[in-house]
């Protein structure tokens, strides 16, 4: 074998290969759930939704609806069985006795067309007794407020969720570290503020859609736009009392998720409706108006924070109260409360901490997971108050953060020893990228220019034992089918999955075929596509599966050549021996095995490798103190710095530059990492400047694109500077950590800090609209 052949081919890890799904997506061939064809048998579902924020359901009369020609079935709470929910089973698929937000599903109509189903919905007659609503989390926390879930004590929940029956608190998490009360006296700067974050919505461009079919004695097939095919299978199975094996979830490309398509929302309804019309597929798709309030929204937050530092600028104490506006059901959102509690200090070293995080039921839409899972919300306050403390001390804000931010080896808020992180490097590089130390003049006379920054941390928030699995199957020509259960929701996971499989196996990238769509009947188990966990967790499973196949192949070749497998390798699709310098293409052996010499039979057989990964080291936290050995698997950290100017005549914010530096451990595909950073920055800008889902007496005011604006192509900054920092993760594949959610976490506070630097005005309540800023500036001028 020639020298050249034995040389290492270039590593695929760290290589910006183009997206695997690129071609399909630019030709219109990529199939999303609504693109599947179901033939003339297809029926359509629409939902009857409660028009009141809080009401008792006294009676439902479905007769008129059923009489409408074309209507096939009407389902109500009587047709849904047990409670459903991810961390806390607190809801029914269709309401039974009580409805808790405007939009709560009360009944579902199945008809031959969407139009007829919608007409029939108007004919379903529901008698409500309107009840007093809870419209604010602080109000809901009050013991005298209406009780929204009288059965809270009976709901099944995860062991680390702590509901308080008899109140509206669905989960309470606290941290008690050090001695907070005596610490304040040692501080020479103490700042106390309240912050508010409104509900926003994920706004995937593809609305929620699910198609369900029941056949073969009750077996269920569900096609859904889903981040969580396996969790959906599991939760629906538990709620309806059927075997997980008898629910098949087929999950094609997802047209944007951002958390809204995690867990279960419309899918349960589609299944319950399909059970009434066995043999017929039933399609349920949300209208854009429903999308805004009837799947998940981001939880609202009221935060009260007090922070103190000594004269030298060392942070000494932090006291926080979080009142999360969980909305009507907290089945998923309870864990946001927990995550925000155990991350409540932000990425800072603070010896004395007191944090109370309450998940409060209100009569708002269901607060669920959204990109960042509580972190954008809490960093809005954390990063502004840190700026205020630095100001009080007269310290530079970069210096203050560099002095106090966590380093590898530090103990964090829960007592966990931090793994190596590159946060300081992120801060320095992000600041440098916008020329932090240089003052910049406004581009238009009269405008006010300023710079600001914010840092962040975020851990995957999930059950301690959320697992991944994968398989690799070698085909006749040695191309590789890669089975995985993680979903392509735009983040590029299929592409990096293929890179990792090819690298671990030793074959060219172009040989990998992802086995799509994800189908719970055939695909290996994956907990959910959430928490920025796939590159790390699923990546580990893929590497293990490839390694397993590789071992089988090397053992076979070693036996065939009568060599030691340790002397063999797979390079560029060939098995090679470093000892004998023989080589053999994989295609000659991976399906049909190899002949034993002299025609004395065969050895080997079709190669299929399997692998899994599950973190085994996450420990409980003490219920009273929130302290424990290791609360989470790891934290991704980062920093964004903004250079902007404000037009004082309008309050308009114009962003010139925003740098975005994150420690991703190892960028498997640097261009995809940068693409995540850019997209996250713009989503962050959008929520910072534009977005707020508004309610009047519990009624949504702006559930549509005309009144709820998201950033468009004309709203983006002049320049976004993505910066990759790589301090490897010890248990990440090739050192990688996740990066999907993080880039939108520090954006809003970084903008607020820059606006404050430019104008002297601080906005404590999101969004930072032009109107709000203009009025605040006017007020400040009067004072």
């Amino acid at each position: 074998m020639s020298e050249k052949k034995i040389q290492n081919s270039e590593s695929l890890i760290g290589s910006s290969v183009p997206r695997l799904d690129g071609r399909e997506k630019v030709t219109g061939e990529a199939l999303f759930t609504d693109d599947f064809q179901f033939g003339p048998n297809l029926l359509h579902g629409r939902i009857v939704r409660c028009p009141h924020p809080h009401a008792r359901i006294l009676h439902i009369d479905t007769r008129k609806a059923l009489e409408l020609p074309g209507v096939r079935a009407v389902v109500t709470g009587e047709d849904s069985d047990d409670h459903i929910g991810l961390y806390l089973k607190d809801r029914f698929i269709f309401c039974k006795d009580r409805a808790r937000f405007v939009g709560d599903p009360v009944a579902g109509v199945v008809a031959v067309s969407e139009e007829i189903a919608a007409k029939a919905c108007e004919l379903v007659d529901v008698d409500y007794e309107v009840l007093e609503p809870v419209l604010d989390p602080v109000q809901g926390f009050d013991k005298n407020s209406p009780l929204l879930h009288p059965d809270l004590g009976e709901y099944v929940c995860a062991s680390y969720i702590d509901p308080e029956p008899g109140t509206n608190v669905a989960n309470y998490f606290r941290v008690r570290k050090g001695d907070i009360e005596s610490a304040w006296d040692k501080c020479s700067a103490v700042v106390e503020r309240s912050f508010r974050v409104p509900h926003v919505q994920h706004v995937p461009i593809e609305p929620h859609i699910a198609v369900a079919k029941v056949a073969d004695g009750g077996k269920i097939t569900l096609w859904s736009s889903s981040q969580s095919p396996f969790a959906q299978r599991n939760l629906i199975a538990e709620a309806l009392g059927v075997s997980q094996s008898d629910i098949r979830v087929i999950a094609p490309y997802v047209g944007g998720g951002f958390g809204s398509k995690a867990g279960v929302s419309v899918e349960g309804m589609a299944v319950v409706m399909a059970r009434k019309v066995s043999g017929f597929p039933v399609k349920l798709r949300l209208t854009r108006e429903e999308e805004f309030t009837c799947s998940f929204v981001r939880q609202g937050l009221v935060a009260r924070t007090k922070v103190g530092a000594d004269k030298a600028g060392n942070l000494l104490a932090m006291k926080t109260e979080y009142y999360w506006d969980a909305g009507a059901y907290a089945e998923y959102g309870v864990n946001i409360t927990r995550a925000s509690g155990y991350s409540s200090t932000g990425p800072y070293r603070i010896p004395n901490v007191w944090a109370d995080s309450y998940c409060v039921y209100t009569n708002h839409p269901v607060g669920g997971p959204m990109r960042g899972f509580g972190m954008p919300e809490i960093h809005w306050g954390i990063e502004q108050i840190m700026d205020l403390v630095a100001e009080e001390l007269g310290m530079d804000k970069v210096e203050f953060r560099l002095k106090n931010c966590l380093q590898g080896g530090d103990r964090n808020v829960t007592g966990m020893v931090m793994h190596p992180i590159g946060l300081s490097e992120c801060i320095s590089k992000a600041a440098e990228a916008i020329d932090w130390d240089k003052e910049a003049a406004p581009t238009v006379p009269g405008r006010k220019r300023g710079k600001g920054l914010a840092i962040m941390w975020k851990a995957p928030a999930m059950p301690p034992n959320a697992g991944s699995s994968a398989w690799v199957r070698l085909n006749e020509d040695a191309t590789v089918s890669l089975g995985l259960g993680g979903q392509e929701i735009g983040q590029g996971t299929f592409t990096v999955a293929a890179q990792m499989a090819a690298e671990a196996l030793g074959v060219p990238f172009g040989w990998i075929r992802i086995s799509t769509p994800v189908d719970t009947r055939y695909s290996p188990y994956e907990w959910q596509t959430v928490a920025s966990r796939l590159t790390w967790s699923m990546g580990n499973a893929i590497a293990a599966a490839a390694k397993n196949a590789r071992t089988q192949i090397l053992d076979l070749a070693a036996e065939h050549w009568d060599e030691n497998p340790d002397d063999l390798d797979i390079r560029n699709g060939e098995v090679i021996s470093y000892r004998s310098e023989q080589s053999m293409p994989l295609k000659d052996m991976v399906v049909y095995g190899l002949p034993v010499p002299d025609g004395e039979g065969w050895h080997g057989g079709p190669i299929i490798g399997h692998g899994n990964f599950m973190p085994t080291y996450v420990t409980d936290l003490d219920n009273e103190t929130g302290q424990g050995t290791r609360a989470v698997v790891h934290y991704t950290t980062g920093c964004q710095a903004v250079d902007l100017e404000v037009d004082p005549t309008t309050g308009q914010v114009v962003i010139h530059k925003i740098s975005s530096a994150f420690d991703v451990g190892k960028a498997i595909n640097p261009e995809q990492v940068r693409a995540q950073m850019e997209g996250g920055v713009v989503q962050g800008i959008s929520t910072a400047l534009l977005e707020s889902l508004q309610f009047r007496d519990g009624q949504p005011v702006n559930p549509g694109f005309v009144d709820y604006r998201i950033a468009t192509s004309v709203d983006i900054p002049t320049e976004i500077i993505p910066i990759i920092v790589e301090v490897p993760q010890d248990d990440g594949p090739w050192g990688a950590r996740g990066i999907g959610e993080h880039p939108m976490v520090p954006t809003a506070p970084a903008i607020a800090n820059a606006v404050a630097a430019a104008t002297g005005v601080r906005i404590l309540e999101l969004p930072l609209t032009a109107e709000k800023l203009y009025l605040k500036m006017e007020e400040a001028e009067k004072d």
């Binding site: 183009p18 997206r19 799904d21 690129g22 071609r23 399909e24 997506k25 630019v26 030709t27 219109g28 061939e29 990529a30 199939l31 999303f32 609504d34 693109d35 064809q37 994920h202 706004v203 995937p204 461009i205 593809e206 609305p207 490309y253 997802v254 047209g255 944007g256 998720g257 951002f258 209208t287 854009r288 929701i489 735009g490 983040q491 590029g492 261009e671 995809q672 693409a675 850019e678 997209g679 996250g680 920055v681 713009v682 989503q683 549509g704 694109f705 005309v706 998201i710 950033a711 468009t712 192509s713 004309v714 983006i716 976004i720």
Partner: protein, 160 residues
């Protein structure tokens, strides 16, 4: 319900269809003809995902009645590639990662096509203006704009 018989050319193929008066062009394309590349994001003319070219002009196909398209030339994302050769915009969207989830992509490509057809060398600002009716929640638009610039450069090189 009144029915109309319409004749139209979709991606250079002649179609005749009998459509209800309230059927939209989007529904005709997706549900009757099976061209599902064009996406339905809001069904109210606000997100741009369903954009197609009608006689060379970008329209929200959810806001056009199928009956109104009688006699029209329609171009959808499926018609961008010719004889299996991708349009420069399609190539550039792949190379520049102009797509993530891909749901807004067909509409983006169509509007970008209309832009380059009338202005082969658009400025960054002109690209932003041409795409402002298209919502994208994944990419932050940065790479979409870059892809359109790249396609414009590629096409002007090819034309030269």
């Amino acid at each position: 319900m009144s029915f109309h018989t319409i004749n139209l050319k979709i991606n250079d193929v002649a179609h005749t269809a009998s459509v209800e008066g309230n059927l939209t062009l989007l529904e005709l394309l997706r549900e009757r003809i099976g061209l599902t590349g064009t996406k339905n994001g809001c069904f109210s003319g606000e997100c741009g995902a369903c954009t197609v070219l009608m006689n060379g002009e970008p329209v929200n196909s959810c806001m056009v009645l199928a009956a109104e398209a009688d006699g029209a030339r329609i171009l959808t994302v499926e018609g961008l590639a010719e004889n299996g050769r991708m349009d420069a915009l399609q190539e550039a969207f792949i190379e520049e990662t102009g797509t993530q989830c891909g749901f807004c992509t067909p509409g983006m490509l169509i509007s970008a096509r209309a832009l380059l057809d009338r202005n082969p060398n658009p400025s960054e600002e002109e690209i932003k203006q041409a795409l402002r009716g298209h919502l994208c929640r994944c990419t932050g638009y940065v790479r979409i704009i870059r892809a359109v610039q790249k396609a414009a450069a590629l096409e002007s090189r090819r034309a030269a």
